[in-house]
Every structure is written in C-alpha cells, then in structure tokens.
Amino acid sequence: MLNTEPNIASPDDFYEALLAIHQDLTPEQARAVDARLILLLSNHIGDMAVLRQAMARAREGIVPAGRDATIAVRA
C-alpha cells in the first residue's frame, strides 16, 4: 500500500536537497539524475504493488501528447 501520509521528518530539508542535486544541470543532465534516482528508490522499495500504485499516481491526469518511435506493421 502506497503511503501518501507525511513520512519525511523534515519536508523542507528534503525538498531543498532534491533541488540541490539538480542545480546547474541541463534538462538532459537533470533527466539522467532523475532516472537514476527513480531506479535507486524503486529498488529500495521493492514491493511491486506499491511501485505500481506510485507509477499510476505519477501518470494521473497526463494526456499523451507525444509518441513512441515504433511503427505499426502488417505483413
């Protein structure tokens, strides 16, 4: 069960630290940091049900406006 109640003792400290690791980065560099962070935290959590809940909440309300680079084929 995904915990969405307050769980971090000092939320302001956390938020500052989160921004600090992105300081002076290009969008690509920031994306690399985020991707590594997500993987590290996901492995730490480990519980697939919790991870799926978190992924679903993160994706909520976003209507796809891009597309993947694959091509539908019929043979």
Binding site: A35, L39, A72
Partner: protein, 534 residues
C-alpha cells in the same frame, strides 16, 4: 566429410501427381523446407505418416542467418534423430557477458546446474541445421520433397484442401487433409489466404558481419553497449563453427542500408573491434530491421501456420528459429494422432491454445530486449542509460540490463490438454511444462521417453497400464537408475509418483499414486476428447 550446404542445388523432378487427372491425395503437405518445415516433416514421418514437403526454391539457407539453437531445440533434434550431429558441429556455450563502454557490467550462465545432456545453446549456421535436418529427412521413405514447387493458392473443400502448385513445367493440384505453412516471414500462403501478421516495427537498423578469422575470444556471447570501437551503438560478438564469428553492429535508423553493406564500410567497423593487425575475411553481410508481430490465429481450418509465417520477433533472444521448431513439434504429434484416427479434430485447436500464448511470451521478451537496446523514446533512453550507469556499482541494476533474454521453451500452463494437479507437488514440472532432462544409470531421461505418450513412473517396478488409444508406454525409474538423484529432485518424485508425458515431451498430468481411471481421463483430455470439460 565436409559438405558445403550453402552451395547445394536440388533438382526439380516431375512427379506423377502432375499427370494425374484428379488431384492426388496427401495426408499432410508441409510448405517450406526451412528448419521449421523440415522438423515438422521429420516428426510426422517418425510417427509413420506420409508427408509431402514443397519448397519453391532449390537450395538451403543462403548465409548464416539463425545461429543460436537452444537446449530445448537440441532435445527436439535428439527426438528427431539428428541432435548429435548438431551438437558435434556446433559451438557449445552457456555464458554471456555484457559490457558498457569497456567495463564488464553483467554476466550470466544459462545452465548453472549440471545433469543435462544438452548445453544451454550451440551456435550453428542455419545452413548446417537445415542440411542436417535435410539429411535426416532424406533417410525417411515417408517424406517426399519436391523442390521448385511453389504453392500459388489454396482452395478449401469439404474433404480437404486443394493446393495449386506451380512448377517449371506448369501448374498442377494436390489434395491435402492438412497443410502446415512454414513458408517464412513473408509467407506467400498467408498472403494467398488474405491473412495478416500484425505488430510493431522498431526504428533501428543493424549490420551483421559474419567474418572468418583466427581469434582467441572464448565461446561466449559478448554484448557491448556504447563500446569505444563503436561509439553510440551496441555490438554483439558470437562464435560459430569453421572459424566464423558473428558480429552485429547497431547502426541507427538513419543508416543507409545499401551503403552499409559495402565492404569498404563494413571492414573498418570490424577492424575497429578486432584491431589493426587482425586478419579476417567477410563471410556474409546483411543489414536488417525487425518487427515483433504475429497472426491473430495460427489455425485456419485445415491450414496451420508455423515459425516466422505465424510470428516474428527481434533477434535479441534467439527466439525465432527456436520457437518455430517448437511450433513444429507441437503441431506434428497432434496431426499424427488425428490422421491415425486416435484423436478428434478438436485436438488441433489446442495448437492455437498453446502456441499463440507461446508466441506472445516470445514477443514480450523480445520486445523488452529491444526496448532496452533500441530505446523508443527520450524517456526510454534516459532510463536505459541510468541502468547502465548504476550497473557499475549497484548489483540490482545489473539484473535490469537487457541485451536479450534468451530462448526458453514455454510452459503451456493454461492448456486445455492439461489435467490440473489434485496432489501436492513442488518444482518446475507442472502440467504443461517441457520435461526436464536428468542423468540416469544407462543414459538420459529424455531419451527414454520416446515419441508417444509415456507414463514416467518412479518406483521399484513399472506399473501395469491399461490398453488405451493412443497407447501409453511405461518408463520406470528405480532408485538405482537415478544415480545422482536429479530425476527425483527435478520431478519432486517419491516412490509411486507418476507423470503422464505427451509425445512432444510436455507434462500433461501427474499423480502421487497411479490410478487407471485418472490415467484414462487425463489421456482423454490430452488428446482433445474431453476439451471443455472440467
């Protein structure tokens, strides 16, 4: 004796069928003499059926093409009577290594436990596989091969399916009870029947350079992400017999397939990997793209699609030819039983029930590998690079590195032919699973199973079996036979444990104690006589 199977040319010969006033009858026509068609024909002939094998060409595979043949495929070749030749000629390997840049990030051993007759894989050029299968097929009087015979159309009839066949001497017709279409990714039969295979294609191009050289790389699968000798792309290196090495370079979507095939472009890429001093010659060069796709159903009346005709995968998992050979053995025993009158036509529906989910499993694994190797969006690329970066010092990330999850046989866990367990069992040998091998005092477990239904019994004496249609043969494993205890371990067996095993060596039922009523019921289910009943 060395045979250059690539250069063999087969004669077109006129058949008496071509002069017949009415179409000659054949119980089974197999179309396509590739690995799948040949395996199907041999399996059917082994069951005593007459098989007509048609191929529009007059030669075997041109170029190495499929090179990785998996343990299960080798076990099938053993059953077909040509496994030894494949393994003797092939390069045996079990270990794969993955590098990022120059650093090793991950390695895997595909067969960590011993006690199997066959290795995880042998590498063998497709023309050898086809050549050895062909030699076997030619030794069987039940098989007639007609080269230069192209199927133009199929006409369903009440009593069979009529095939219109084109030859250098004009068209003729044959009448088949059943047709197996193993005519490849572009399947002319699929097209002639107005059917489609659908899926996704990936925006990337790859170069295969098979080179002949003396090299001291070990017989392992080496895969590099972004190595210094091929910046930005991936490279795969793999050993084949006769001093041939498969090198596969990722080129990207914008590469020009015509130009990249030219030796003056290929040779510098190979030299960058092997070093300036390396001596090699190009054996076969190909630039390819790939798709993951399948037909909605593989059975269409009396016609069964198998191998690439039915489904397609990316090459990063060796799941193309291997799954095709598994299609072949799945349909062969069912057709044999139906044609001998030992099972109803409904048994043939289970080809779809078993092989469509198997194709989905292969497509899923192959798509996941492709998503890692060929990221399809900016986000996929970011996570791929993040996994590779973390893999240097975080063990968890190494298991996410995906350079191909290599072919394993499917377990038909939801097959209507299975009898669900009523007794308690542990381990992998669930109903629907392909039977695992184990060493016995006088050989190997799988070679004892034979080609029909087998009751594998663990105990001091074989049980008495009732007379059944089709017959069930008992194979008893006494404690003294199971020298290493691996058979009992792998089958979670105790004295009295019994497994009913299908002609294709998949488990269909098991009990702690044999009961003749239950055995008959399980056999009814496994032969399609009780499909749909609980």
């Amino acid at each position: 004796m060395h045979v250059d199977y690539q250069s063999l040319r087969f004669e077109y010969r006129r058949s008496p069928d071509q002069s017949s006033a009415t179409p000659s009858h054949h119980p089974v026509v197999v179309v396509g003499a590739g690995p799948v068609g040949l395996a199907t024909a041999i399996d059917l002939a082994g069951a005593g059926l007459r098989v007509l094998l048609l191929d529009d060409d007059r030669c075997l595979s041109n170029g190495s093409r499929a090179i990785c043949f998996a343990k299960r495929t080798l076990e099938i070749f053993d059953r077909l009577g040509c496994g030894d030749r494949m393994v003797e000629k092939g390069v045996t390997w079990n270990v794969g290594r993955v590098f990022h840049g120059e650093s090793p990030v991950y390695s895997f051993d595909l067969l960590p436990d011993g006690g199997h007759r066959r290795p995880a894989f042998v590498n063998l050029q497709q023309y050898y596989v086809e050549g050895f299968l062909l030699d076997r097929a030619r030794s069987m009087p039940e098989i007639e091969i007609r080269w230069g015979n192209k199927v133009l159309s199929l006409l369903p009839r009440e009593d069979g399916v009529e095939l219109v066949v084109e030859t250098p001497e004009g068209e003729y017709r044959v009448l088949a009870d059943y047709v197996v279409a193993a005519d490849g990714a572009r399947s002319p039969i699929r097209r002639a029947m107005g059917l489609e295979s659908r899926g996704r294609s990936f925006r990337d191009r790859f170069l295969i350079a098979d080179v002949r050289m003396k090299a001291d790389f070990p017989p392992e699968r080496w895969f590099w992400f972004a190595p210094p000798f091929h910046p930005g792309g991936s490279v795969l290196l793999h050993s084949q017999p006769d001093g041939v090495w498969r090198i596969d370079f990722q080129l990207g979507w914008d590469a020009d397939p015509e130009k990249e095939r030219e030796p003056e472009r290929v040779i510098p890429r190979v030299r960058a990997l092997l070093g300036p001093e390396a001596e090699f010659e190009l054996e076969w060069v190909s630039v390819y793209t790939f798709s993951c796709l399948r037909m909605e159903r593989f059975r269409h009346g009396r016609v069964f699609f198998a191998g690439d005709a039915a489904h397609g995968v990316s090459p990063f998992g060796a799941r193309g030819a291997n799954s095709g050979v598994q299609d072949a053995e799945n349909i062969a025993w069912k057709l044999a039983l139906v044609l001998r009158g030992e099972a109803p036509d409904a048994l043939l529906d289970s080809y779809d029930a078993e092989r469509v989910p198997a194709a989905d499993e292969n497509i899923l694994n192959s798509t996941r590998s492709t998503d890692f190797i060929t990221p399809k969006s900016e986000a996929s690329l970011a996570f791929r690079d993040a996994v590779l970066d973390l893999a240097r010092d975080c063990v968890f990330a190494r298991r996410m590195v995906n350079s191909g999850r290599l072919s394993l046989p499917s377990t038909y866990g939801h097959s209507p032919l299975n009898t669900p367990d009523a007794d308690e069992f542990e381990g992998a040998m669930v109903p629907g699973a392909p039977a695992l091998d184990a060493p016995l005092a006088d050989g190997w477990l799988l070679s004892r199973l034979g080609g029909g239904f087998t009751l594998l019994h663990f105990g001091e004496a074989p049980p008495d079996l009732p007379e059944t249609v089709p017959p069930v043969r008992a194979v008893n494993i006494a404690r003294a036979d199971d020298v290493e205890g691996l058979a009992a371990h792998r089958y979670d067996a105790r004295p009295g444990t019994a497994y009913l095993i299908r002609p294709d060596q998949h488990v269909c039922a098991r009990w702690r104690r044999l009961d003749q009523v239950k055995l008959r019921a399980a056999l009814d289910r496994a032969t399609g006589r009780a499909m749909g009943t609980p």
